[in-house]
Symmetry: C2
Subunit: 455 residues, 2 copies
């Protein structure tokens, strides 16, 4: 009978813990849904600061905003962690195509980190390919002196749009290197976009060290890409590319913004929750990643508001420079190593302010199994997916170099790549309830780990 | 050994069937996501027909649109099923409040089916209550001759917004009856709205037979309601209500639109999939319920496009008059009974064109259990919720009176009550991927039932 009693006792402890957790989950949810300030914070960030590329005055304003918002959320301690960041300058830009008789300007964005045309106009015929394979088999003469149009379509058949992004993003990241080696003079890409619209999507690209010529690269929206595809299929189209964009030499001083609630029992153990404060230089960086920033701040505010005293130290971090360098993530690692910090878990929200559906995990199997066992607690909140391997760019340095378990909020992904890196990533396209529910999920996860540890 | 072999054989048959089903699920998904026409159909319905209240010329245009769209989708047979519908006429309307010194017009909508002021201006002081309980304890003198402002808030703490709607909707439906009995002269309600905006939400109300005086009832948006709440808390506010709205005597001829694919093996057994074609007389009825209509048509198109020949007859039905009478649902029942039809299952999509999350079921436990066993097939498509009891208004007559098993598509509910019954329920607020994924889910469900029956 002893065994039986033990089992019953363990079970009733579990049931009791579960019931307590369920009540706390509800308390957290009610607090965020009824009194959450993340949506108002996002409005301020989007409308008063606006877009905030690393190294710009707007990014410096965002740091000030973040510091203030952390204090208002009730953090025990708020500080700025120095980060030196690159600065890429867009300047004036213009893409003209003669798809019909005359040249006509079309909506276009130079890709981040790219070198433009030095403000001069580059005019050349376009050669269109559907993908890298088609490009490979083009004869040299068809490429030399041309602007290559990589017409690769974002695959709409992937049910999770991040899979489509992963599939397509090499066209943004690498096309200029591939094209330069064959004597092309410029690159136009179809945007990494699920949108049925004409918003071009910017985002980072890079130049291989092995490539001596840095080609200009511009993205066009899907409607223009469709028109260009049609025109190229009927005859030769020329482009005039004009852009001043370039990387500015040297690094500029900036900051990660950190707010902390000190742990009561083992304050030396740290749980990080964060998003990135920088954005591309169009739109308002609302989903990417204003949402993750205000949700992380909301975690602190909510824990304070419900009077919960976490056993571990909880740190909300607004990372700088995720978009074109991840210098904030690396600075956070450097500081953690220098101080010999003990990190229990890092959570990132950087997939948009949409309804949460899951928690991605990059950690050992035992820890994954432990968190998965809490799935039934999350289910009433629409969070059911505990199978995806996912963390976040900003927390990847501490995950990779210090082996810190990493988790990533997994919101519904259907709309993200309509807005991502566009002028349309604005506050109005974030729904207050969806945004808050993401903050609920992150706060609930932190609560659970504080209560039960992470084995 | 015989038993063992039987088990293995059954198991391998199951595994094989599962693998086949999984492939067909993917085929359906690819067809809809890559070649689906539901989004384009919705654009046409919203932009060329627009809103389409029962009995209006626009509703007649919607019927023509639906007939054409069914034929284009490849239905074997398309027909119009006569339905006599009520007609409620809004006419001119105006609400003015003197929240500050002077009267100022505010955004407001008369509630559907209500009787206005006969075009005259009704001026009276406002008495505000937060809920029915507060109203009950008001002294008679505080109500008599007043316009009652029911300031009940849509509860944002419900995680599924339909729960919030269920909680609040009595204030729209019943307030004039309650207020009339105490001698009030009019009713203003805070809209059934999750929105942080000033869109008033219309929707149906009713007059009790026992109430002799039919009070006018208007809804205001949340921003105006907040302002009115503040003003009422500081002093007496007056309202001027002017509205021409009224029910027009008699019924008008209209139609359900039906498209069918004939079953190959047992064509006499019918699976219905539908949404409602009518909408309120503001906005474009995009989510409510253009989405359900175009998704239902998409089911037919997809089955044809992938060359699937269903064992049972599949009927897409665009029901007329869900919003203020459900005459279409009743006409469908009458016809089914008259023809002694054999209905296997009815599925409705009437909760918006958002990412699907589940399939609600109103059917016996054995059938629920059978459909729940397919959950792992749906999971990769983000559909995991098989626990909610849910069908649809249009299919409720055949469910209730003929005991037809009913299923309701359960999309993400966070944004629905921002748009529901407002001028903002427009095509632009529907995402093409989310809309299509709902059609994927419904087609997959129908495929499964065709393959495996419904026990």
């Amino acid at each position: 009978m002893k065994g039986f009693i033990l089992v019953c006792s363990a079970l009733s402890t579990f049931t009791f813990a579960h019931a307590q957790d369920s009540l706390m989950f509800r308390k957290i949810s009610d607090e965020v849904m009824l009194h959450g300030t993340c949506y108002d914070n996002l409005r301020t960030l989007c409308k008063e600061v606006g877009h905030r590329l690393s190294g710009t005055p707007a990014a410096a304003n965002a740091v000030k905003w973040g510091e203030k918002a952390m204090k208002e959320a009730g953090a025990d301690k708020v500080w700025l962690q120095p980060v030196n960041v690159p600065y890429w300058h867009r300047g004036a830009e213009r893409l003209e195509l003669n798809m019909e008789k005359d040249f006509r300007q079309v909506p276009a964005l130079s890709l981040g980190n790219s070198k433009g045309t030095g403000g001069k106009t580059l005019e050349a015929p376009i050669v269109m390919v559907q993908n890298f394979d088609e490009f490979k088999v083009l004869p040299d003469a068809a490429v030399k002196g041309k602007i290559v149009f990589f017409n690769y379509r974002f695959r709409q058949d992937f049910l999770t749009s991040f899979e489509g992004y992963g599939d397509a993003v090499a066209y943004r990241w690498n096309s200029p290197n591939i094209a330069a080696k064959r004597g092309a003079v410029g690159v136009i890409i179809r945007s990494m976009s699920t949108g049925i619209d004409d918003f071009p999507h910017t985002g980072s690209m890079h130049y291989d060290d092995s490539v001596s010529v840095k080609l200009p690269e511009m993205a066009i929206g899907n409607i223009t890409a469709n028109a260009l595809e049609y025109a190229c299929s009927r005859g030769t189209v020329k482009a005039k590319m004009t852009s001043e964009c370039h990387m500015v030499d040297g690094l500029r001083p900036s900051y990660n913004v950190i707010g902390e609630i000190k742990g009561t029992e083992t304050p030396e153990r740290i749980i990080t929750v964060g998003g990135h404060l920088d954005s591309w230089d169009v739109g308002e960086g609302a989903h990417d990643d204003g949402a993750g920033c205000v949700q992380s701040i909301e975690v602190l505010r909510t824990l304070k508001a419900i009077g919960y005293k976490p056993r571990y130290t909880i740190r909300a971090v607004l990372f700088m420079n995720e978009e074109n360098g991840n210098k904030g993530g690396w600075a956070y690692l450097d500081s953690a190593k220098a101080a010999n910090e003990n990190h229990l878990l890092a959570i990132e929200s950087d997939a948009g302010g949409f309804s949460p559906r899951g928690i991605g995990m990059e950690m050992d199997e035992a820890k994954k199994a432990q968190l998965s066992r809490y799935a039934s607690l999350f289910l009433p909140y629409g969070v059911y997916d505990f199978v995806h391997e996912e963390g976040g760019v900003d927390i990847s340095p501490i995950h990779n170099k210090m082996n810190v378990p990493a988790a990533g909020l997994l919101p519904d992904s259907q709309r993200y790549f309509d807005y991502h890196h566009t002028a349309n990533d604005i506050f109005e396209n974030v729904n207050h309830r969806e945004l808050k529910m993401g903050a609920v999920t992150m706060t609930q996860l932190i609560y659970l780990v504080c209560e039960h540890g992470l084995q």
